[in-house]
């Protein structure tokens, strides 16, 4: 695996402004995606993981959404500054996007074939016949039986899992360098989820694209990711290789999250561990650690300043004062 980044996000801030108040959904998020790797993005609802990824491709309606700061470098261009025509060339062609809900993200009045051929014809300039042939190949690639015939079917004639396969086929149509998948298996049953996960592993072996996989399920990430970032309150609170993260979770939030999970294997606790309280509502940019109110290790400094990401070991960083080099409390964590 090559380590050159294909996508680099630096200091991204997205704010939703309404007349009454502003919601700071993404606060200074930076990460990079290396060629061919799968980056898992984990967090609970409202942690800003989807908004971050939508901001990358400027998919959020503006207003109310506003990208206040940051750079998103892809193929030598800053996507934040790019004009509409340039963005259109990137969307679908350079970066493919799979949305969460396969029931609502396909257009019900067009055939699946039409929706698959659309990016092929606009981005690659294929003619009708060539596009149809390629579309059938794509359906075969994602494991849909009798692909040629199914091109003329409408989305409602497919089941949820099959529709998600179609979504993946559309995202992969122009052979993108980066695939962003936003909770692609959340709406699916576990046995169907297992099919999709297997498909993605298989496609990565065949096509070698880099993938950003957004999920709230720590189990899914454990099975497919190379590296993981954990998000909380619109910030990256921990960043690590997948094995390091699960073996040595460093941010108190990551650890609490892992402890609340019951499993289907291993010992079974008498009571589940819980994280007391609720995530904060971000009406202002965070001036203190956003997890302070729910944290078991909170001290004065957490309420005074927002900790940056401290590297604990190379490749593993956590945004916690206890992880800072001068704190001396690293062994506590």
């Amino acid at each position: 695996m090559n380590s050159a980044p294909v996508l680099e996000v630096d200091g991204l801030k997205t704010v939703f402004g309404t007349r009454a108040l502003a919601i700071h959904a993404v606060n200074d998020v930076s990460f990079s995606l290396r060629e061919g790797e799968l980056l898992g993005v984990v967090g609970e609802s409202g942690s800003g993981k989807s908004v971050t990824m939508m901001s990358l491709l400027r998919l959020l309606p503006s207003p109310p959404a506003r990208i206040e700061a940051g750079r998103v470098m892809f193929e030598g261009q800053d996507l934040v500054q790019l004009d509409d025509a340039g963005l259109r060339r990137v969307r679908g062609r350079g970066i493919g996007f799979v949305f969460q809900d396969p029931m609502t993200s396909l257009n019900p009045v067009f055939t699946v074939g039409f929706q698959l051929m659309e990016p092929l014809r606009t981005h690659l300039g294929l003619d009708r016949k060539a596009a149809r042939k390629r579309a059938a190949e794509l359906l075969a690639l994602v494991g849909i039986p009798s692909p040629e015939a199914r091109l003329d079917d409408y989305p409602h004639q497919f089941s949820g899992g099959m529709r998600q396969r179609v979504m993946i086929a559309i995202a992969l149509a122009c052979d993108p360098k980066v695939l962003i998948a936003d909770e692609p298996t959340t709406a699916l049953d576990v046995t169907i989820q297992a099919q999709i996960l297997e498909l993605v592993k298989d496609l990565r072996r065949k096509l070698g694209m880099a993938v950003v996989w957004i999920t709230h399920d720590l189990g899914v990430v454990a099975g497919i990711a190379d590296r993981v970032i954990v998000m909380y309150a619109g910030q990256v609170v921990e960043r690590a290789e997948v094995e390091a993260l699960y073996e040595n979770p460093t941010h108190p939030y990551t650890r609490a999250l892992m402890e609340t999970l019951p499993g289907v294997d291993g010992a079974r606790g008498q009571r589940l561990r819980t994280i007391a309280g609720q995530p904060p509502i971000l009406t202002a940019p965070p001036a203190a650690c956003p997890f302070a109110a729910r944290c078991a290790h909170v001290h004065d400094r957490c309420r005074e300043a927002n900790p940056p990401l401290f590297e604990v070991v190379p490749g593993h960083a956590a945004a916690c004062w206890l992880a800072s080099p001068e704190s001396g409390a690293r062994n506590v964590l």
């Binding site: 899992g161 297997e198 709230h216 189990g219 997948v242 019951p262 289907v264 609720q278």
Partner: protein
């Protein structure tokens, strides 16, 4: 949790041969053209004080089973005995008198609370409808219930929109507890909540069970949460229960090929385990319950299906270790 398997317990709810079929109408004169067999002959008992987990994928009929037991949908056939009375054939008034003993906690805390009613009146509604409590006594009971589910009693005058998802689910639980029920059907009570909030609600349900001696039918698609909360687990597929066993037996050594596939499909939050674990990937999708396969309903996706499975429906057998399985090959 306090359930003791060694001691035989009194059966509180006994369901036998329960079926719920929904007619399909089509055409100009809305003629019936078919039947969706949502629940097709399920049989199980729930002992007093235990939690029976009911798991399965979407569309397998687990929620319909729960609703049929409380007669929120009418059963097509079958018996539902609760404390000796057959709920399925009860008339309107006797059924109303049974209602306080059996309650439900719903899946979606955003849709199951009336947005125009205050939390106090939502919780007081069952008391008004069934109880004899009035005025100050009723108000005290509402405060007591709010306190029992971990909410501030001063919140009684607020409206549901002022609460978060987890808090709303607590309000739903308080409402279900209002009439001191014996039996509560929990229909996916944590599916709409975030993981850190799920644990809070599950712990609350367990505490209340210990304190009040409640009996739960816990319906969920989350196999790891069911493993945590249930004493026994029933697995449903396409309208039928295919395996029913004590929790440890089911999770340690599943016997039905569907249960095996289902458990192997749950991702384990440990990269080392995931890297070496064998997943059983089922082919295809769940068939339509309007037109289920002949013989064994799982045979179209089953990795070990043979000709016999298409011809002959597997019997609901009791194995040596006491569990029930519907598969020709399970031993």
């Amino acid at each position: 949790m306090s359930f003791d398997h060694a001691q035989p317990r009194e059966t509180l709810v006994s369901v036998s041969g329960l079926s719920v079929h929904f007619p399909i109408y089509a055409g100009l004169i809305r003629r019936q053209v078919g039947t969706v067999r949502a629940v097709d002959g399920v049989t199980f008992d729930v002992a007093r004080g235990e939690t029976l987990g009911l798991v399965g994928e979407s569309g397998c009929g687990k929620s319909t089973t729960g609703r049929a037991i409380l007669r929120l949908v009418e059963a097509t056939s079958g018996k539902i005995l609760m404390a000796g009375q057959d709920i399925a054939s009860l008339g309107a008034e006797p059924l109303r008198r049974m209602r306080p003993r059996m309650q439900m906690i719903f899946q979606d805390p955003h849709a199951s609370l009336n947005p125009r009613m205050t939390v106090g009146s939502i919780i007081a509604e069952p008391l008004t409808e069934h109880g004899t409590l009035r005025g100050r006594a009723r108000q005290r009971r509402v405060e007591e219930l709010l306190d029992a589910v971990g909410l501030n009693p001063d919140f009684a005058n607020r409206y549901p929109h002022e609460f978060s998802g987890g808090q709303r689910q607590r309000i739903g639980i308080a409402r279900a507890l209002a009439l001191d029920p014996d039996f509560i059907v929990c229909d996916e009570p944590i599916a709409a909540l975030d993981v850190s909030i799920q644990a809070q609600v599950v712990n609350l349900l367990e505490e209340l069970q210990e304190r009040l001696g409640l009996t739960y039918l816990f319906i969920s698609h989350d196999l790891s949460m069911v493993r945590h909360i249930a004493d026994r687990v029933a697995v449903m597929y396409l309208g039928k229960i295919i395996e029913l066993a004590t929790r440890d037996a089911l999770y340690d050594a599943p016997k039905h090929p569907y249960t095996q596939a289902l458990l192997s499909a749950v991702p384990i939050p440990n990269p080392r385990v995931e890297a070496t674990r064998r997943h059983i990937i089922l082919k295809g999708d769940v068939p339509s319950p309007a037109n289920p396969p002949s013989g064994c309903r799982f045979r179209t996706r089953c990795p070990i299906a043979e000709a016999r499975c298409a011809a002959e429906e597997p019997a609901w057998r009791k194995l040596e270790d006491g569990r029930h399985v519907a598969c020709h090959f399970a031993t």
